[in-house]
Point group: D2
Chain length 308, copies 4
């Protein structure tokens, strides 16, 4: 169950648990790690955008890596996107030294042309070292960098250390199809595609060629079940399961407050102690919390994992 171009299943995007006073909640980090594994996740990604990475001190980032890598039996990927290559390199090297399976790199928001994007990843790979396996993150909605199919293909072709695409372009189903078509045509080597966007299109992505999901939805156990149903060819059952969760998935997929929803669900499921975020962070209003709880209650009638 290593991190490779053949990786499948669900890589959980881990939240970073804090206590109400803003300090790192170390016991919850352990519980969260166990929870993701027990949910059937085949990997864990830490310090991603939803992991509040920029709010951490460098020493805290290292502490989290050490703790999760030390406890996890599945591969751990570390988000190392940074405004400069110095910080990216040192975090990547430290992460690999501590036993991470690889890193995840997103494009820096200023990039515009194909050439700029391709060059950026060239420099990033030079910075972290071409021996470090990595995940390419394609997330235009938040990062504001649009990578065409040919650019993704070029980056993957240029760097044999790029093993996986975290796909969260929106709309993105055709992108998966077109990338897989390039592979079929022999123009692109194998690589794994795990999908993000909170799982919003996970009812169709596997059939398009995705190998699974990399997202932080509060029910990773449902995500792994869903991927399993698709792998078993049970399309209708997969959709039934997905559709039951879609109202909550959709509610969580709100930029800004999505993380608050996610932490609230994880707290209600008993995984983390507090749903606190470090500043800046949006808290759920009382109304919003009631709405999430109503969705959970409705979901609980069909999926007992949500009957809290």
């Amino acid at each position: 169950m290593s991190f490779s171009a053949q990786s499948k299943g669900v890589y959980a995007i881990a939240t970073t648990p804090f206590l109400p006073d803003g300090s790192l909640d170390t016991p919850s980090v352990d519980r969260l790690t166990d929870f993701y594994q027990d949910s059937g996740c085949t990997g864990i990604t830490i310090l991603g955008i939803m992991g509040e990475a920029p709010k951490l001190e460098p020493s805290e980032s290292r502490a989290i890596i050490r703790q999760v890598v030390g406890r996890s039996r599945v591969p751990v990927i570390v988000g190392v996107s940074a405004p400069g290559f110095a910080a990216m390199r040192s975090l990547a090297r430290d992460a690999m030294d501590m036993g991470a399976a690889g890193v995840m790199i997103a494009p820096t928001p200023a990039l515009r042309t194909d050439e700029q994007i391709i060059n950026y990843f060239g420099q990033a790979v030079e910075a972290v070292g071409d021996d470090v396996p990595w995940v390419l993150q394609d997330y235009p909605l938040t990062l504001n960098v649009v990578m065409s199919v040919s650019v993704v293909a070029k980056v993957i072709s240029n760097h044999s250390s790029c093993l996986m695409l975290k796909h969260e372009d929106w709309p993105g189903l055709e992108k998966i199809s077109r990338l897989r078509a390039l592979q079929k045509a022999g123009e692109l080597r194998p690589f794994s595609i795990l999908c993000g966007n909170g799982g919003m299109f996970l009812d169709f992505e596997p059939e398009r060629g995705a190998d699974g999901a990399m997202t932080g939805y509060g029910f990773p156990d449902m995500l792994t079940e869903l991927i399993g149903l698709f792998a078993a060819g049970k399309r209708d059952e997969a959709h039934d399961l997905f559709d039951a969760h879609l109202p909550l998935i959709r509610y969580e997929q709100q930029l800004g407050i999505g993380l608050a929803v996610r932490k609230h669900v994880l707290k209600r499921r008993g995984v983390i102690t507090s749903d606190a975020q470090r500043k800046p962070g949006l808290a759920l209003s009382e109304t919003a919390r009631a709405e999430v709880d109503y969705l959970l209650q409705r979901l609980g009638r069909r999926d007992k994992r949500a009957a809290l």
Copy 2:
């Protein structure tokens, strides 16, 4: 059933039907107008972003207004957003002369500061005339202009001719609550809020204070039913209906190909003759069409309107 600050229900965002050769499909315009009315819509909005307005010649825009206004028994709103005030003014005056109930104005994409936005709407109202009732469109995802609650409140306060907010900020539930709270506190006069975003949050927006929806989802008859259920206090039934449609609503809410999905559904429902768009426009791939049809088939088991 006039257009006023008390307007409720569903204003359909009308697509503009074309034939495969790119010409206007006049008979379908009539059928579409009838369909929206028969679906219980309380208004129709034409020449909006999803109405392919920028692809129309000025003469074509006028022809569509004349046709829809002439046929509709419910108020017709005309989108008049334009890169310059000259075109905005002439379209608005022409629309009103032809019997439109009002116009819809979106901010021009270059606006950034609160002051710039507020001034822009001041100039827009001066251009179209302060006797023309209008809808303020708040759609950051596409227009790239972010209006805070205080800016929306200021624009509404400045212009008594602004009767309605087309709300499609995302996330946006708190925005509705905060605007209604300002009204309750007596700091803002009454105005209607109809929600867009393809209906993606219409299971909670009415309880937050929205008066209904202004969107072009292919099942306006479901939207009016939904608003009716909320009005009748049947919360659970409303959610049941909404949840059944959410997989399709979500699929349609993909920037770029959403319109293709919408036209495909309207064609399959027999309302328009062709799902053709004028260039530039994304067509559905064969796979995507099959996905939509699969969603329709699944939906058809619960809602006979989708059993096509």
Copy 3:
């Protein structure tokens, strides 16, 4: 002196003169046309970004084209950039029917990837007709579309009707050098490069490979003299002339108020009757006007054209 891939010299970006009441100032249009020709301009570009094109009614645009084309002995290029291809096509066809030499097309602001940009110009050429000679406008600062050298080269290669690049990337000197190097290497056919950016780098652009300028600086007679000095190999004299004008060129190159400066200078030179702009438009403050006048007075000591 036709419009071709060999065009050289200065194409004036024409302002659109209005009277204080906002009406078109027809007599000033004639005077301005004569002024540009008498200044030695080899072409005139109308209805560009600085021509307040979006503030004009379609009928007014046509009237201006007819008037300028009818009076000018040099080629007239018409800006036809528009949010949709319908308006672009009809304006382009009308312009050509009235005797314009060609049109100018800028990318629409939403474009991001190389593929999107290249496709857009493909659709634009299809819309206006591949028999219409055109200028490709590359102006990232305002249009927010970044075209790499390879994209510009691809667009030019794809469309034999593209005869000229209006170059106003910033920084952009290397872009000119790289495009000309592609030509030298036989990878790109000949095309004209005229530079914009208000002339801010016109002291080096000709040596980099530019054929001249396309800009609306209030002293087109200086621009043509400058290009002549470079053509004659008088580098130092060219720089002396340029440096004397640079303080004013720089002052004019302020987004938003640049047009107000330009109109003020043209009014003071007796070319146009009023410096009025249509809304929205920034007027010069009294202080700003005094600053411009001070710069003109200083310039007048070295260049008698500025001694007003």
Copy 4:
């Protein structure tokens, strides 16, 4: 000569000198510090956007602060802008502990509405501590955050620890006038305004109300002389000096390669050993270097500091 709301003169934006192998060039840091002081600068700003701050390891940032603060007799301001408040806080506290006079904070690029911007600085001040004097950086061209006059005024009013505005909006002359008018009207407390933008408008900014410049132009000795001439009421002499430098100032004010020009000039003046930048960084082409040298040679005829 402390850092206060009454600060005047020139704060040099310090480059960070590297050796060709990418290592920090410590001796050049000393020479640069001395050079700025000997040039009459009243302050030095380190780790700004042009100081390649994101390319530094945290330990390197601290080493530079220690070295410059230890050597400088004028106040040292430290740029602490960061994607997260944790890094901002720790760098700010470390800087103050080492003897910095204050910090500089720019808005994070995602901010859009007035409310978001005002809240951001509230959180930033909470993070660094309201006892830390700071400079508000207003630089829309690069940071993509537009602050209206009322927002700048609000931030300054909210935080008594904000002593200075680094003004580099473009166009920005009216902004200075309007801020000073607010002060005159008693609606805003005193604060210093130093201007950036490479000095591009420093021939008018002092008369508009600026207290001087904060920029890194390769001739800080000219900047201090210029501010002195304005202080002495010698307007024409100030413009003569400015105009002589404007061709080079303008050449340096090219986003992306500006820093390369600046380092080249500082190297030619014997201040730094190498013009190397860390990646990513644009180097000057041979042609560009020759252009800068030509500008220096022309400038050298009027200003012997440039006769190298």
